[in-house]
């Protein structure tokens, strides 16, 4: 049973997997809900390992980057690791344009990303 509307969740070893369900992450409401659902998922865990899967996402606003930045700071502050995968080229452009491809740990797909969490 999946209790979330915007994200699909799972756990591989100690890594929290978050798959975004939306094809478009554009409006503030969607963004707010994603933010709340991830906060609920991670709860009070300090420094969890998290993998975000963008496989379903076709369009994403730059405001989503702000959310990713917050997550990144929060997770790394607790010595956890945040990684991302399944980012299609159009969306990777957004990361590249803002140089954030250098900040985030981005991998081709989930198996490739999981292999780096050792």
């Amino acid at each position: 049973m999946d209790a979330y509307r915007r994200i699909q969740t799972g756990k591989t070893g100690d890594v929290h997997m978050v798959v975004f369900k939306d094809k478009k992450i554009l409006d503030d409401t969607t963004l707010d809900e994603i933010k709340k659902e991830i906060a609920t998922l991670l709860g009070k865990a300090t420094g969890p390992d998290v993998l975000l899967d963008f496989g379903n996402v076709e369009f994403m606003s730059s405001a989503m980057l702000g959310l990713l930045g917050q997550l990144h700071r929060k997770i790394t502050a607790g010595h956890g690791r945040l990684k991302m995968c399944g980012i299609r080229p159009e969306i990777f452009q957004v990361f590249k344009l803002t140089s954030l491809d250098k900040l985030f740990s981005i991998h081709k797909d989930a198996p490739a990303a999981l292999a780096t969490f050792t």
């Binding site: 503030d28 980057l65 702000g66 930045g69 917050q70 700071r73 344009l97 140089s99 954030l100 900040l103």
Partner: protein, 460 residues
């Protein structure tokens, strides 16, 4: 009324029981039959003092039963009350014709029924066979009714009483209605009061928004702004009343000009408040807040290198303190005598450089958006302009402008557009680019703020 012998004809066991209990409680003896035929049998076994009969019953209806009682010489003077829904005037005629002495409309009040019984028992009935036949017309039909005068009178009184009772119900219902109407009027008044308050608040919000938009316009260059030894043209089209984008250009000292385009993430009030806050730090006037210029001890003005400005901004605007909002900026300083352009890009789209003869080329500098990573140093890049060279700064509302199928305009299309207008004055090239963006976004229009700032270096 002392205890009398009552016979009930009623096919509903439950209703019969209720009535029976009420009558027994009032001190009467009660017998009950579930149809007219059984009731007639009981009546003939022992003559009751009064009969109460339902109309709709199997085997023998109330009318038939009534007729049988009134046709029986031994029973005809026993008063008989019919319980009817009285939904049709014909019911009264049928009752009269059957020889009923009284009506009680269902549903009945037991006290009312007891009252009827008492008045019937206190007025002895005549023999209906001694009376003349009456002729009545109801609903276009003629009926010949043979009924005793006393019966007709009783029936008349009972229908009148029924009418009075119904009228009272009607009056009560009317009263309820007028109470409900009063409540409705009151609620309506409260509602229109609320509406008025909402429109007052709405008007205030619109005023606030307009005021905020005005403050935000103060972040933009004044209409008559110019730079020495350079032509400048710009366009700024917010997608909502309040935007996250802003741009400006101005002389910093005798030899330097500063120019920038800022794009705060998101739209609306939060982004615009952030833009205004950021704008105060990007002032060309020496002040405690300005990051662009500062005063040396000897009184002269020092222009801060763009990398230092970006590093300072990043220190001031960490996204976690601004509810996740961050911004991108391309800030450059032009050394007016030599055409040297030093700039930084904090997560901002690359600038487009157009030389006098070659094709347009993008130049970027790497750097995270402001607020993303604490204590990061920004790397400065340099572009050497030749006389007549143009540079274009813009927000991602230009390159990321989506057509109706969600395809972005993209960097190549932007370069093509600028290349195609190379022969025109700078102002026309900026106007042309905005036109291209707006055409691309048809029919919905841009969903992001669009900012364009073009500069042409013209040393004397």
């Amino acid at each position: 009324m002392v205890g009398v012998d009552v016979l009930i004809a009623e096919d509903s066991r439950i209703q019969a029981r209720i009535l029976q209990k009420r009558l027994v409680d009032a001190g009467h003896a009660v017998r009950w039959a579930e149809n007219g035929a059984d009731a007639l049998k009981l009546a003939r076994e022992r003559r009751p003092d009064i009969i109460i009969s339902d109309i709709e019953m199997p085997v023998m209806t109330g009318y038939e039963f009534c007729k049988a009682v009134k046709g029986d010489p031994a029973l005809r003077t026993v008063p008989l009350i019919l319980m009817s829904t009285l939904s049709d005037p014909i019911d009264i005629i049928r009752g009269l014709d059957a020889g009923a002495d009284n009506y009680v409309t269902k549903p009945y009040d037991p006290e009312y029924l007891l009252g009827r019984m008492q008045s019937l028992l206190s007025t002895p009935l005549g023999d209906p066979t001694q009376e003349a036949t009456l002729e009545v017309a109801v609903a276009g039909q003629k009926f010949r009714v043979q009924a005793g005068r006393q019966q007709v009178l009783n029936l008349l009184v009972s229908t009148f009483e029924n009418a009075v009772a119904k009228n009272q119900e009607l009056i009560a219902a009317n009263e309820d209605l007028s109470i409900a109407r009063d409540r409705l009027q009151q609620t309506n008044a409260e509602l229109s009061d609320l509406n008025e308050r909402i429109s007052t608040i709405n008007a205030r919000m619109i005023r606030d928004l307009e005021a905020a938009a005005k403050v935000q316009r103060s972040l933009l260059p004044p209409d008559d702004a110019t730079l020495p030894a350079a032509a400048v043209a710009w366009r700024y089209v917010p997608c909502q009343d309040l935007a996250g984008d802003f741009l400006n250009f101005f002389p910093l000292d005798a030899d330097h000009a500063g120019l920038f385009v800022v794009d705060v993430s998101g739209h609306g009030v939060p982004s615009s408040l952030m833009a205004v806050t950021v704008g105060r730090f990007l002032s060309p006037k020496v002040s405690e807040q300005s990051l662009l210029v500062r005063q040396r001890p000897d009184g002269t003005v020092a222009v801060a290198p763009p990398a230092e400005v970006a590093t300072q901004l990043n220190r001031l605007f960490q996204a976690d303190e601004f509810s996740g909002l961050y911004f991108t900026i391309l800030y450059g300083v032009l050394h007016v005598p030599t055409g040297r352009f030093d700039y930084i890009s904090a997560g901002h789209p690359a600038l487009l450089h157009v030389s006098a003869d070659g094709p347009p080329a993008y130049h970027g500098a790497e750097g995270f958006p402001i607020g993303f990573v604490p204590d990061v140093e920004y790397a400065q890049a340099t572009l050497q302009l030749a006389p007549g060279d143009r540079i274009y700064l813009y927000s991602d509302g230009v390159t990321e402008a989506m057509d109706k199928d969600q395809n972005p305009l993209g960097e190549p299309a932007l370069a093509d557009c600028i290349a195609s207008t190379r022969g025109q004055p700078l102002e026309a090239t900026v106007a042309g680019l905005l036109e291209t963006v707006q055409q691309w976004c048809r029919p919905n229009g841009p969903l992001d703020d669009v900012s364009i700032l073009g500069l042409e270096w013209r040393p004397s």
